[in-house]
Every structure is written in C-alpha cells, then in structure tokens.
Amino acid sequence: MPLKNFIKENFVLVVGLALPVLLVIGFLAASILPQSNAVPPQYEMLFTTTRYDQASSTPYNAEFLVKHGRLVARVWKNRPNTGSYAKKLMAYNGKTQSVREITYDLSKIGDVADYTEVSLEELSALHVNNATTSPDGYVFETAGYHGGWPITEIFGGGYHDRRARLVKGSAVFKLPENNGSLYNYYDTQFLGWVVPPQAEPAHEQ
C-alpha cells in the first residue's frame, strides 16, 4: 500500500507534520466539547466599565459598591465644564451571552455631600452577591493583553487581546465586545452576581 510505505519511509516527517494537528484536535476535544455540554452561568454578573465624558452631563459622579446585598452608589460632585471618567453599570447574562447597560439617574439624589453613599431607585430591586465565585461556580476574568512566546511571535502568534470571560473549569463564556470595548482590567470593576433574595451575599464590602 503506497500510503503505508510512505509513512514507513518518512516516519519522522509524518510525526513532525502530525504533532501540531494532534495538538489542535486534542485541544478541541479537551476544551470545546466539554464547553458544549456546560451549563451556562445562571446568575447575571454586574460590573462597571469606565467612559470619559468631555463635559459632565450630570452634577454627580459615582462609584458602586455592594453593601448588605444591595448595590449602593458613592457619589461626589463633578466640577462644572470639565471632563470626567464616569462609571457605566453593566450586566452580563450568561444564558443569552449578552451585555446590557443598567442606566441610572444621579440628578435625582438632591444635594448631598461628597462621598455620600446613596441607594438608587433603579438598583433597589437588585440583590447582589459579591463573592468572587458565583453560586454556580463561575469566576470573572477581565480582558487583557496576552503574550505568545518568543519563537511563535516571529511567526505571527504573538501578543493579542484576550476577551473578558466567565470561567468554570474548562467551560468558558466570553463577554461580547461593546463598541470595541473588551472590558480590560484597567477600566473594568467586578461588582457581584444578581441573585434571588434568599441567596444574598457571602461577603460584605
């Protein structure tokens, strides 16, 4: 049989050609197949991302934190006619694999001193567990710049952006891009998981 003879005569070459193919097949078998059987994250994940506003449209700026299983905003006054970094509150739904923005209105809080913690009406219905690991075992990993290694960088396998994701063992659910935003570690802050009222926080901030 010609193929059998070819393999016999060029065994080392065949091994050399087969090794990367086997790695790809093995990787697919070990990671993508279990992924298809994995149960997607059952709890919405809350996080903030930062955007720069040229001229602040609201009188206050805010950062979010979890207190007693509720999301509260720590607010401070914006300087008039100057730009500022504002937090966008986002929720990732693992079942639909989509990210939505939760809008809030800081103009309704009235006149409060800087760094006052306020409860916003829009967030009052959210019960939040701020444990690093979700009740169903998922962990949030922000996006980042991930390197290859010296030799394959020469051949094009170098540094690249790695999307933010929820990870549980070999199951990985990547967050979709939002207008080119990958939710990098420097502009993304994890807040917690939206849980039913009876499964409230494991840890308090």
């Binding site: 060029n10 080392v12 070459l13 091994v15 050399g16 050609l17 090794l19 990367p20 790695l23 790809v24 990787f27 697919l28 990671s31 991930h146 390197g147 290859g148 290694w149 010296p150 030799i151 394959t152 051949f155 094009g156 396998g157 170098g158 690249h160 790695r162």
Partner: protein, 309 residues
Amino acid sequence: MSNREDALQEIAALARHNNITLEEIATALAAPAPGKPPASLMSKLFAYFGGILVFAGICVFIGMQWDSMGKAAHVVITLGTGFVLFLMALATLTDERFVRAATPLFLASSLFEPTGILVMLKEYGHGGDERYGFLFMSLIMLIQHGTALIARGRTVLAFTAITFGAIFFATLFSLLEISPNLAGTVFGASLLCIAYALTNSRHAAIAAFWYLVGSLSLLLSVFDAVRHTPYEVAYLGISAFMIFLSTLARSRTLLLVSTGSMLCYIGYFTEEHFAHTLGWPVSLIICGLALLGMGSLAMRLNNKYIKKG
C-alpha cells in the same frame, strides 16, 4: 616537520580511515583541479542581485504611489505582483537557461503575495481580529507552496512551505488560546522532526535553520514551563537529551543550541542558588569550569559523531 610531511601524513591517515585505495587517490589527482570558481556561481550571484534590485524597485514604486492609488490598485500592485512573480518563477523552472532566477523570484513572490492577501482583507474586509486574516493568508500560501513543492521539488519551496505552515499553526494556537508553553513545545518538537527529515533529503541545506528555530522554541518553552517548579532540574536532562539528539541527527546547530542551553541553565542555577551562599567569585569559577567542560564535550561530540559522520 615540514608542512609537506604533515600533509602527507594527514592524507595517509585519511586514506586508512576511509579505506581509500592508491588507485582512487591517483584517479582523483588526475582529474582537473577546480582553479576558478564555476561560472554558475557568478550567474547565481547576478540572479540574486537582480532579484533584490527588482524587489527594491517595486517596493519603492509602491511606496511612492500608495496614497494616490485606490483599493483595487492596492490589491493589484501587491497581490498581483506577487502572483505574477510566482508564475514567472514556475515558468523559469521549465527552461534550463533561466532556472537560476527561480529562487529569487519565489522569495520575492513569498513577500508580495502574503502582503497582497492581507492588503485585500484590509481593503475589503469588515474589521475584526486580524489573526483570522493571518490564518487565511498562511493557509492559502501553504497550499500554493506545498503543491508547488510536490510538483517541482525545489528547496526554496520547501523553505517557504514550512514557513507558511509555521505561521498557520502559530496563529491557530494563538486563536485557540492554547497555553504558549505547550504550543511552543509542540511547535518546536514538530520543527525538529521536520528538520531531521530534511537532513536526509535533498533539501538538507535548510535543515540547520529549522533545527535552530525548533530547538530554541522547544527549549525556551520547556524552561518557561518548569522554571521555579520542583521539575526545574529536569531541564538539564532535556538539554542533555538534545545533545544526544544532535549526535543522532548529526547537526552542529542542534549541538550548539543544546550545549548553549545547558550552559545557560548551569549559569542560571548557580546564580539562583549559590551566588548568595558561595558568593559571586566562586559562582563565576563554577560557571567558567562548566563552560570549559561543556565546550570540550561539544568539540569531542562534534569530532566523533558529527564531523566524521
């Protein structure tokens, strides 16, 4: 003892060692001595020089006109030029008079064509991860050069086919987010196997380059994986195994890289564990002794198993 006597003794020793008879020596001496370099060398030099000039001229022209050209012109000037150069290279192989122009033409086309494919994807694509573009480009080039290699059997095509294969798999590993150390180890081992197969083929001229790339990839990845782990000392064993492989493959490149890696590891280990206890002077002496020992071992291995092989 004069140089003449030395030379005679060396000839006698070589003849005894290689079982060469007096008649064979006489026949070899009777053959005309190669006085001047063969004419083919000059024509080959001119072919390479001409290829470089053509390539540089096209690059300068493209650079000068780039901003005034449209999307289609960008693609035609890069991809079109590359494809035409590839066809010309194939055409030169059919005529003995132009066959020496094939290698520079293949090399020039290997730069223009992939650039052209990437330009096409940039001009007509819809954005996204550029690695998919690299994957597409390298696959197309791999198929083109792989089939040309099977049909024509030229060493330059073997080189370009392996290069595009390496780009394809490096990009694929990156897209699949396979651990860089695992990918580098497999990539290196694969290239070493391919280089070994090249050594025993008519493409032996390019084996040394792929031994270099493969061994560096394998050793760097393994070191990165085992560094600061209980298995770190196993790296020494892998370096020793690579030295053994170099004698098996009769590759000086592999011997050089593996000996170098062992020396680097000894230096690293000494700096890490002994520099603060024995002090730098003693550590330097240990490194120096290792250098002397490894150098001597490498020379002996080269003379015994590689040079005379």
